[in-house]
Symmetry: C2
Subunit: 211 residues, 2 copies
DNA sequence: ATTCTGAAATGACATCTGTCAACTTTTAGC
DNA sequence: GCTAAAAGTTGACAGATGTCATTTCAGAAT
């Protein structure tokens, strides 16, 4: 196969977790050092040779864990999102008891707190480092939010249509509001947080009224 | 300055149009060949050395026109969008006569026809090759759509708030629906087209009712 | 026509991505 | 403990990005 340098980032790139203990430690070290490097110098300075040099290991070794530099960013984003998902799961009971409008408002509230308290996650997920399109962790979150939306919905009415996939679109719309706020203001302002709630609620409401 | 290969794409990268006639011809040749290459082999195969080799010119020469490969894609996308914008301008009279709901529906209709009839534009703009964030042409379109929304709005009511920037968000939301349709189905299906209309209308409607 | 000046073209250099055959270390079966 | 087999590591190679001093060329003034 011919070499294919990153004329285009591979949004599907994913880490291959090693099995042996020493290798696992190095794998984690790569992630830790990458996060550190990102926070110190931003995305511009991020590269596999830099991480390797800082850890005193060779490039090739890192490439056995991560097929592309993007895979490191994906893994970092995934771990941040896993914590957000854990937070959702933790409080799932609260959400189930709410009206769907309040549930959306609450989910958005959690997500805003998450992003506004984590510069690295914000940079990766909202800043465009980790492409939304086809990104596994992102899809996972969307599926999760989608599932949440579906559950919320089914408490009250018939299931949502699959074309358009309303649950996914609702999540996409919320994310879009977050991204715009981050791009224009550097964080998620209360105004954009409210805009996300409104846009999600009103789009979803359409299908409720339609039934 | 140290070399900085594309660990991250530069979404602001823009072409530098040459002044001399021969150079201008070569500049256009690069764009034409790039579009051809994209349609033949997709984004994966796109690179400056490939374009240079197909045109029998040197890499360095192309770099005098375009600071990054991304700048070529941006310029291509910009030209496609210019044509869309021209179409909007052409029919501005029709839009001004409509209700704002119909105007949104019409704008979406034009955009859908545009994307569904241009594989290259679709790939560039909806496929993630050209990042939405901070991309000049994209912003231009958004400002245009935003301006359109503002005009539509002001015919009926008070101006839209600037925080959140409702006009931009409406455009973002529509684009999000398009992107999701393209990602999941390869084109903009009628269902997603309708979803875009609904999502945009209902979000905008909120601010109308609020006044 | 000639000359001059700035635009354009070039190729060499430095750095990064991605692959791979060869080599070393760890693990597991005996 | 010993020894395959599996897992991990390495450095060299190929191709891409981005920079830049140097050379070439186009167009304008004389």
């Amino acid at each position: 196969m011919q070499a294919k340098p990153a004329t285009e980032l591979d949004p599907l790139a994913v880490a291959r977790v090693p099995m042996q203990s020493r290798a696992r430690a190095r794998f984690e070290a790569v992630l830790a050092e990458s996060e550190k490097l990102l926070e110190e110098s931003g995305l511009q300075a991020f590269s596999i040779p830099t991480v390797a040099e800082r850890l005193g290991m060779t490039r090739g070794s890192i490439y056995t864990y991560f097929p592309t530099p993007h895979a490191i960013l994906n893994e970092l984003a995934k771990r941040h999102l896993d914590e957000l998902q854990a937070l959702f799961n933790e409080r799932a009971v609260d959400l189930a008891a709410m009206s769907w409008r309040d549930a959306i408002r609450t989910v958005v509230q959690y997500a805003v707190e998450f992003h506004n308290s984590r510069p690295a996650a914000r940079m990766l997920i909202l800043g465009g480092a980790v492409t939304d399109t086809s990104f596994r962790a992102q899809d996972m979150l969307m599926r999760h939010l989608g599932e949440l939306g579906r559950r919320i919905w089914e408490k009250q009415d018939s299931p949502l249509p699959t074309s358009p996939d309303v649950s996914t679109l609702v999540a996409d719309i919320g994310l879009t509001c977050f991204r715009r706020s981050f791009l224009d203001h550097g964080w998620i302002t209360p105004e954009y947080q409210e805009a996300a709630v409104i846009a999600m609620q009103r789009y979803l409401e359409y299908y409720r009224a339609k039934k």
